[in-house]
Amino acid sequence: MEYSLQADHLTKRFNGQSPAVNDITLRVRPSEFLTLLGPSGGGKTTTLRLLAGFERPTSGRIQISNRIVADDTRFTPPERRKVGMVFQDFALFPHVDVAGNIAFGLRGARADSQRRVKQLLSLVGLSQFAERMPHELSGGQQQRVALARALAPEPDILLLDEPFSNLDTGLRAQVRADVRNILRSTETTAVFVTHDQQEALSLSDEIAVIFDGRLVQVATPHAIYNRPATVQVAKFIGEANFLPAEAHGMTANSRLGEVKLFHPKTGPVQLMIRPEALAVEFNDRGTPAVVRWREFYGHYQRLGLALADGVELVARANVDRYFQRGNQVRVTLALPALAYDPASDDTLS
């Protein structure tokens, strides 16, 4: 079998409430890094706990490297699944030192497990900290110990539940990169849960977007950002402008004039336009607009633009040009737009 993890039609219902996880099907290839992304309380963590064996699925099947660990009749308890888990709060055993924590899941000869602990300590760069107690470590160090502990027994897959959300913002980017590098070097198959779309986009091989317990889209970060399956996904991942338009084939008529479309479409549609797809110029080509506000971020600037009929758009521009409130500018669409049915989301702004 070519998958490390296969989950089919997973559903979890707690005491007759509406399902927390609703018919989710996932495939993860060896050494792949899959992210479950979605708003808080949307069923991502429950999915992860089903995979780990902390919850019993109401229905569906889970297969880890050829072994069926859960289906209608079978249920393998967590200790026999060969699944590693890194928790949001790390859950390092407070009464055991760093080496002891890492050795916790190791069986067999003492010398072997000592060697393995050493190996992992150097992998996560904490060789000097073997005898420290967990509370003597910084958040980032605790994070790495938790990772080493989960990796020590060489699990078939590693599950990470919001592992970066307890870290300071300054630390987060570095720890994130470290973790990604470690997982790449060990060729670990990982399933990662987050509600932070930046984290998901920058780390994942694939992203599975989950809303209200349902799987909405599975794709690479690039595809999720550029071709979101629904308006909801487009809004959740990155910033998006929406414009009503009339499509005919590969083009559509909108307030920005005749624009190119990504997919052929006919009839009334709403266009999804990322802010960076808008080109803002001081020349006389394109639709006239007024700069309403500007936020400067150093490496780019956000501009609030008002078209003649009052429609507002958000654009992202390079910082080589100096915009001010009240500037008269011209807007053109630099990339093809995505067109969605106008009824596909009633929360349309």
Partner: protein, 544 residues
Amino acid sequence: MQLSSILPTRFRGGGQRRQLPARWHIGNRQLVQGISLLVVASVMIPVAYLVIGAVGAGQEGIDYLLRTRTIRIVGNSVGLMLTTTLLATLIGIPFAWLTSRCDLPARRLFLVLGLAAMVIPSYLTAVTYSEAFGPKGILQSALEPFGVDRLPSIKGFVGATLTLAFVTFPYVVLPVRAALLHTDRSLEEAGHSLGLNRRQVFRQITLPQLRPALSTGMLMTALYTLSDFGAVAVMHFNAFTRAIFIQTESFRMDKASVLGLLLISMTMLLLALQSRLHTNGRHFRIGTGASRELQTVRLGKFKLPATLFCAAVILMGVAVPLLVLFKWLAGHTLTDPIHVSLELLIRNTVGVSAVSALVVTAAALPLALLAVRAASRFDRWLVKLAYAGNVLPGIVIALALVFFASQHMLSLYQTLPLLVLGYAIRFLPYSIGATESALEQINPRFEESARSLGLTAREALLRITVPLARAGILAGLALVFLNVMKELPITLILRPIGFRTFATRIWSAYDEAFLSSIALPGLALILVSATVLFVILRQERVAP
């Protein structure tokens, strides 16, 4: 230092459960439920016998219930409960406030000495009070120069109230102090910034925030008073517990059962009231952990009277009992008619207390696990029933067990196992409470981590959860040990013939008016209790 840890958990205010649910992981549950069921059954069987006994009394029982004497007993107990609670509150609130928030000199020392009143059992305080304030007591001899050659006896209502108020006021101090220390300082500052003066801030902001803690303390005091046997027995005040004791001693089981059931319904009423107030208490905002140092209140010209007040409280709570005991010790050369070696007393007392503490702790662990992870209604009911000891006064448990043994297990009557069972029923809540709150502190993800690292449910419990809860479990053990050692009515009624402990020795010496024989066991009891309490509090401080 979390002094409130020495109270049974169900009385502690402001306890919040962790938000993350700890789920059962398939494997341990049936075993834990099975053991719990066994424990709860042992707790409930004697209670059932009490009910059977009372119902068996039939019409006679109802007649007895309505007799003037019975009604007078109810009146006595309720009256004693109300005055004691009032007095303990009037002592407890200012004492807690002065020793926690004011610039009282040596306030830490005052606090510790004040709380030390808890290690002196009520019967010992009562015995020493009747000596000190009796017609020819220490107070009288101090007043003799002023021409006072005889004081009225304090036996009865006055003596019982005075004794119980000074024994129970720490139960008011502890929760009130905890609330005072966790008051959000910014609330008081907001009051000041809105133009309130110090007195207004205290009345309108500080005091309302104390209400849940105060009601907890008052209800504990009331419950203690209602269940206490020692003080009313020594003071010859005819409250419930004393009446039950007299009926039990003369084997009038039906009457004793009727009284016992009536008493239990009163304690249950109190506890029901408490749990209602407790849930209301959650609406109050109490502290968010790392708060800033609270501002110390300057007493100014009130410093001297405040210090004198605290000194007087300590004089009554601790100094008088100790002084009287030392006075008796000095006169101890008088020959003791029933000579009992101190060594034997120590061995009996410590032995039976240690065995009981171990039994209770072992029985409490499965129930505490159920309490923390209660998944079903059945689990929750088991835990509730195991807490029955909270509403069962010692004398009622003793009565029920005598009844049970006399009906079915005569061979058990007046044996150590039955005595230990009595202690276990009474003090199981203490141990469950301590263990439960220790387990609650443990992140449920620890066990899950262990599971995903290859440990079975049972291994995870033994290698992760129990070691982490060790401090709390040990604190519960020590607490049970302490209370068994001080226990009087269960010991008196259920002990094997000739089995003597500190408590029974003090009781019989008082009964036979060989007061000087009280000195040694009394001081030994206080010394051991104080040591154990000190160890509990130390443990709390070093625990992670």
